[in-house]
Amino acid sequence: MSLDAIVIAVLVAAALAVTLGSALGWAASRIEPDAGSLVEQIDALLPQTQCGQCLYPGCRPYAAAIASGAANIDRCPPGGDATVRALATLLDRSQRTLDPAFGAPKPAQVAWIDEEKCIGCARCLPACPVDAIVGAPRQMHTVIAAQCTGCELCLPPCPVDCIELRPAPAVSLRYRQPRAA
């Protein structure tokens, strides 16, 4: 093998490296990452409780704040550590646990209105982020359990404290008995 062949090979490889490298650099500067789809991806991992415990008015605003770097990923108590880990995987962060300053995770719950005590003031209706309370002024109110996210936002407006949170109904009959033999 002659010296020329080696020189040519090195030059060709160097030219390729320079051309492709500058093309990549140009592309990175011109094509912005799709911020919209990142918000969607983050929003898809949030539990959609819409409780505002992260101090943002709903899951999507919090997702936008995470995407823009304004908020950390450890602010969602309803999602618990599992959501923090899922977000960390998506965004390549090292965070693994929830910030306790924003609240502690709770088992799934749904609101229940004590219809004996309810005075029909309708103040809880606008508080519900998912329109899961049915009622009208001076009429009995009730919670659609299947739609309730258990966010607790209906508790503060109630003047007679007739709303309580109960464990969410079981989704499936989880096997609990010892197996035969």
Binding site: D43, P47, Q48, T49, Q50, G58, C59, R60, P129, V130, D131, A132, A146, Q147, T149, V171, S172, L173, R174, Y175, R176, Q177, P178, R179, A180, A181
Partner: protein, 494 residues
């Protein structure tokens, strides 16, 4: 007549059927009290239509099937409803709301119990509705409402009714006894079911270790003179009686993953269900009793009994000679797929085909077994009749890896229990997979709920924004009207 091949894998198990299967069916007398679980084994509850204190007769409807997976319940005796309360029951989750009826000693029969004049003249829809009202449900072990299954089969264009007389699980022989003693009922019921399913052909499949049942059903078919009725003897390999495996053995086709047998043109019904349909047609009798095997080394005289639904299991065991020796487990079902029960006060359900009172002789080898690590021997995948890879599934289940569990087909597991039966490390594989399926279902439900919440929240946000915009516009227009032209001073006037 005999199917030469069967489904792949599976295992020939020690059948234990010599115990209790020779003698005829013993009638259990009406008990003083019955406990009818609203969930008869499918996980869905019927709605009670009686209240505590109501008087009922034999055959009176006591709970209505509002959900297509629930089955209507009828009183097996004349008496009064004494309680409607949550009790331990032979169902998933271990408890169900039960209607307790105490006998008043009379034998009054409800007026609604009337023979069906001419079942062949009823339209398939009408037949299905009447079968649902009669509480007819799969007596093979699942308790799934027959009418729902037939309607779905008709929608999907099933052409063949496959009557399942395989009864593959060790210990259980109630279908065998029924076919030997009431083969004509089985065949008559099959004809009614075939009509309700809109099917043309009808195949009755029986395992080849039941020659007496095969002979009796062959005679009954001979008497019917219906060319579309066929009898097939299938090899006695566990789990031959599983719906999909039986279809593979008889028709040589595989039901696709996620599909129903009806997609392959077949609808399965148990032979005992067919016999119950014949009783309903002949006497108008809803399902108020069933034949059940009471067996195991822990009972005096293992036998098959016909007992009212809701009879406490203690009465069944008494009819089979009472307890003997040192029973260790009371199991509803066989030793492979059965469910251990906490007490013998539980009432018989439609789905219960066997009461196994097991002693150390029966289940000793598996008692106190310590789970050891998987050694990757592959025995489980060699026996898996669904063609799955249990050892891979086990790794995915331990890691709770949902995507891997789905890809490996955890939803295609038929819960036969063969993998843990052969596992040299005594890993409770079938339990793990059942639990994993629950977790997958819970995750899917949570994902759906969260998607709903997102949509409702977005709709609400949009509605509030539109309302605010509309209010602002109304305010502007009022202010513009109230303000004299040329006046630039700020502030509303309204």
């Amino acid at each position: 007549m005999a199917a030469r091949s069967t489904f792949p894998a599976g295992l020939a198990l020690d059948a234990h059927k010599q115990q209790g299967c020779g003698s005829s069916i013993v009638e259990v007398p009406l008990p003083m009290q019955v406990v009818l679980a609203l969930d008869q084994g499918t996980g869905y509850r019927a709605e009670p239509v009686v209240a505590v204190g109501d008087t009922v007769a034999m055959g009176t409807l006591v709970a209505r099937a509002d959900h297509p997976f629930a089955s209507a319940l009828h009183s097996p005796l004349a008496g009064a409803v004494v309680a409607i309360e949550t009790r331990e029951a032979a169902v998933e989750g271990g408890r169900s709301v039960c209607i307790v009826i105490a006998s008043n000693g009379s034998d009054r029969i409800d007026d609604s119990v009337q023979p069906v004049a001419d079942p062949a003249s009823l339209s398939p829809d009408e037949l299905a509705r009447r079968l649902r009202d009669a509480g007819i449900a799969g007596l093979g072990g699942a308790g799934f409402p027959t009418a729902t299954k037939l309607a779905s089969a008709r929608d999907r264009g099933a052409h063949t009714l496959l009557l399942n007389g395989a009864e593959c699980e060790p210990w259980i022989c109630c279908d065998d006894a029924l076919m030997r003693s009431a083969a004509d009922d089985v065949v008559l019921g099959a004809l009614i079911l075939r009509r309700a399913a809109g099917a043309v052909g009808c195949v009755i499949a029986i395992e080849d270790d039941k020659p007496a049942a095969i002979a009796a059903v062959a005679d009954a078919i001979e008497r019917q003179r219906d060319a579309a009725l066929k009898l097939v003897a299938v090899p006695a390999v566990y789990p031959q009686g599983a719906e999909r495996q039986l279809i593979t053995a008889v028709a040589g086709i595989e039901v696709p993953s996620g599909g129903l047998p009806a997609d392959a043109g077949v609808v399965c019904q148990n032979v005992a269900t067919a016999a119950a349909v014949a009783r309903w047609a002949a006497h108008g009798e809803p399902i108020v009793s069933r034949v059940v095997t009471v067996t195991g080394s822990g009972v005096g005289h293992p036998c098959n009994v016909r007992a009212p639904i809701g009879t406490p299991l203690s009465a069944l065991i008494a009819a089979a000679g009472g307890y003997r020796g040192t029973p260790l487990r009371l199991i509803a079902g066989g030793n492979m797929t059965g469910r251990a029960l906490p007490t013998d006060e539980i009432g018989l359900t439609k789905a219960m085909n066997c009461v196994l009172v097991a002693t150390r002789d029966d289940i000793g080898s598996r008692l106190g077994a310590v789970e050891l690590p998987c050694i990757r021997c592959g025995d489980c995948s060699n026996v898996c009749p669904a063609g799955l890879l249990p050892q891979q599934l086990h790794r995915a289940a331990l890691a709770d890896a949902h995507d891997a569990l789905r890809q490996l087909g955890v939803h295609d597991c038929i819960d036969c229990g063969l993998c843990d039966y052969v596992c040299p490390s005594q890993i409770p594989l079938a339990d793990r997979f059942r639990d994993a399926r629950h977790r997958l279902n819970e995750a899917a439900a949570a994902a759906k709920k969260s998607a709903d919440a997102r949509e409702r929240h977005e709709l609400r946000t949009r509605r509030l924004q539109e309302a605010a915009t509309a209010e602002q516009q109304a305010f502007e227009s009022v202010r513009n009207r109230a303000r004299p032209p040329g006046d630039d001073s700020a502030g509303g006037t309204n």
